[in-house]
């Protein structure tokens, strides 16, 4: 693990990102005004608050995973809940993902509501059988509900090839699993509430770079439905569909091109499975142009599915082929310089928006 110095630097970096994000926070009352936003929670503390409220509401909710009770998890996601609710409801486990998820699956089948916290979604490979072969199939095979939440931090940051996998495409391809990937505190809390009030397994992914992002959060019963996208910013010319940290890039890029007369509609998918195709397709029918922004690799990735769904539902409204701007087909390296070479950034998003908005013929292909 990182030493104190690296941790402090990482925290400072996340705080910079958080400040940066807050200014552009979706639905923030002061977004774009330059004033301090009315920050009520961070992405991480919104999760804590959601867990706390739901644990008070429902005594069968408990969380299990490593380093949770004292540390609150590697992203402080449940900080404080251990002493507050006790070691039976914030359960520290051995480093054994298969046992964590299996215990969650069986406990969920037995009428409790476990949250399995894997810290990093990369570690779910150690429990893939329990997640994919058991949790996802129990309802189908046996008509038994599995109200299980598997929470993990996802998305590309630092930490090398084995802490930055984009596993969302794997889980999207697994019938029986819902996959949520919020981009702002409001949705973290609201989607968590949906997950903890439902009957089926949910893979709950939180982007590392958004850990400290600030924004408003809802109250005890502000539930965000799973499977519902959100129009972050309405626009007439191009639909930009994305999720997670992509929403930050999308908002910046949309602001950057607005002065050029390109009016971008930004959609935060919020949930990858099930995918809210209706909201995206309705937008594309209005704009005629679609950009899908995703840091996951292109091959068989979420963007491929989203692009295909747009083509299926809105092909005759399209003025140009659907454009995908994604991460490259590569593991994630250690060096920040190399990471930058793999991922879409604001400049690439701006460039893709410009080319797509101005394209009028077959010579203008995808990026």
């Amino acid at each position: 693990m990182a030493g104190p110095l690296q941790r402090r630097r990482e925290r400072e970096r996340l705080e910079r990102l958080a400040r940066d994000f807050a200014v552009n926070a979706p639905n923030s009352a002061t977004a774009g005004t330059g004033a301090e936003p009315e920050a009520q929670a961070t992405y991480s503390t919104a999760y804590q608050a959601g867990m706390r409220e739901e644990m008070i509401r429902d005594a069968t909710i408990f969380v299990l995973g490593t380093d949770l009770y004292d540390r609150g998890g590697h992203f402080s996601q449940v900080k404080g809940l251990g002493p507050e609710f006790g070691a039976d409801r914030v359960r520290d486990t051995p480093i054994s993902e298969a046992a964590m998820v299996a215990a969650g699956v069986g406990a969920a089948m037995n009428g409790t509501r476990p949250v399995v916290d894997l810290n990093f979604i990369d570690f779910s490979y150690g429990a893939m059988d329990e997640l994919v072969n058991q949790a996802a199939k129990v309802r189908y095979m046996w008509n038994r509900p599995v109200p299980l939440v598997v929470r993990a931090t996802a998305g590309v940051a630092q930490g090398g090839a084995q802490h930055n996998n984009s596993l969302q495409s794997w889980f999207m391809g697994t019938p029986g699993l819902a996959v949520v990937f919020p981009s702002r505190p409001w949705d973290v809390k609201g989607l968590l509430k949906s997950a903890l009030r439902g009957h089926d397994p949910v893979v709950f992914l939180m982007h590392k770079l958004l850990t400290g992002a600030r924004g408003p959060v809802g109250g005890e019963d502000d539930v965000v439905p799973i499977g519902s996208a959100r129009i972050v910013r309405p626009g007439r010319d191009v639909t930009l569909a994305t999720y997670g940290y992509g929403v930050v890039l999308a908002e910046k890029a949309a602001a950057a091109v607005s002065g050029e007369g390109i009016d971008v509609e930004v959609i935060d998918l919020r949930t990858l499975a099930p995918l809210d195709v209706d909201t995206v397709a309705a937008s594309v029918r209005r704009t005629g142009r679609a950009l899908v922004l995703d840091e996951a690799p292109a091959v068989a990735g979420p963007a491929a599915e989203i692009a295909a769904a747009i083509s299926d539902a809105a092909f005759w409204y399209l003025d140009q082929p659907v454009t995908r701007l994604t991460g490259r087909h590569s593991p994630i390296p250690h060096s920040p310089a190399l990471i930058a070479g793999l991922l879409p950034d604001e400049a690439a998003t701006v460039d893709a928006l410009r080319r797509l908005a101005r394209a009028s013929g077959p010579e203008v292909a995808a990026s």
Binding site: A107, N133, R144, P274
Partner: protein, 339 residues
């Protein structure tokens, strides 16, 4: 192990119950012999894994539990299902993939389940069912119920990592779980002792700091006693117990398999001297608990039930293909197209 079956006294249970144990073992044997033949005739899509020879394990274990307790099975689980009380007709129709099957044709031979009966699924993944039993035990503890769970796995599963991850968690959390390794000596076609480091599954389990015992799985009384003690310990907060139950399957890994990895002599030795049904029948007869007429009735009843099951499975309609993608997840009401 290898305590001969007459060395232990009969358990302190009613004679009628002992005859019921035997009846269920005979039903399992009759069912499995019939199903094996039907699989060879192509009636069972994907075939099946017969547990002929392992009847005492399932019946001894199931009868040591309370009705609210939970059992999870393995890919070879018809005996577990029938011992837990699933109807032969529902099970056989499920093997056929028919609408009248216990899971409407969604499960099949390796995925039998009836939650009302406490059968929380047989499982096609080696060691997978033990994980569900582990979680069920955790759920029971969280809810403060008196329920316990029992997870079966095989000697093949004893060489998977997950089985020991589950055992470790159950041990450190003192969960109300009975862990049963149904060791039938062969992991598919591999002789287990050749691929088991240290050679002793029970000793391996004991390293996790929980009671671990080896049991004669051909003796229904021995299995019953061991599981009953383990269940009592689990229910009273004493934590999990590991039982390695030594048994034997007369057939191959799956129906119709050509067996090259063991001799016919070996099979015959087990069949003639270690058969769980013959030995238990002899003990009950010797003890005056069972008459020859009663045995004839037991055999005849099993025959009739299995014949009725075959007729039911044959006549049951196929499930509606339009329903095939239903009930995947409430979050996701089957989007996409099927054709």
């Amino acid at each position: 192990m290898t305590a001969t079956s007459t060395t232990l006294p009969l358990p302190d249970v009613a004679s009628a119950d002992l005859r019921e144990w035997l009846s269920t073992m005979v039903l399992v044997r009759t069912f499995e012999e019939a199903a094996d033949g039907l699989a060879l005739r192509g009636k069972i899509p994907g075939g099946m894994h017969p547990a002929i020879g392992q009847e005492a394990v399932a019946v001894g274990a199931a009868r040591a539990l309370r009705s609210g307790d939970i059992v999870t099975g393995t890919h070879r689980s018809h005996h577990h299902a029938l011992a837990k009380g699933m109807s032969p007709a529902g099970v056989l129709a499920e093997l056929y993939g028919k609408a009248g099957g216990s899971n409407g044709g969604r499960g099949g031979s390796m995925h039998l389940a009836d939650f009302d009966l406490g059968l929380w699924g047989s499982n096609g993944i080696v060691g997978g069912g033990l994980g569900i039993a582990l979680g069920a035990a955790l759920g029971a503890e969280v809810l403060g119920s008196e329920q316990i769970s029992l997870g079966f796995f095989g000697d093949g599963g004893a060489n998977t990592g997950r089985v020991w991850e589950f055992t470790n968690l159950a041990a450190i959390w003192s969960l109300p779980l009975v862990i049963v390794c149904e060791n039938n000596l062969y992991a598919v076609e591999t002789i287990s002792e050749r691929v088991t480091g240290g050679g002793d599954i029970t000793a391996r389990a004991a390293g996790f700091g929980l009671p671990a015992h080896q049991i004669d799985g051909q003796d229904v009384v021995a299995v019953h006693r061991a599981v009953r003690d383990a269940a009592e310990q689990a229910r009273s907060g004493g934590g999990p117990t590991f039982l390695e139950v030594r048994t034997y399957r007369y057939k191959g890994h799956d129906s119709g398999q050509v067996i090259r990895y063991r001799t016919e002599d070996e099979v015959q030795r087990w069949r003639t001297s270690r058969d769980p049904i013959e030995n238990f029948t002899a003990r009950l007869t010797d003890a005056g608990v069972l008459t020859a007429d009663e045995m004839s009735t037991i055999v005849e009843q099993a025959r009739r039930m299995v014949d009725a099951a075959v007729a039911f499975a044959e006549e049951s309609p196929w499930p509606d293909p339009c329903s095939a993608a239903e009930n995947v997840s409430a979050w996701n009401a089957s989007p996409g197209t099927s054709r």
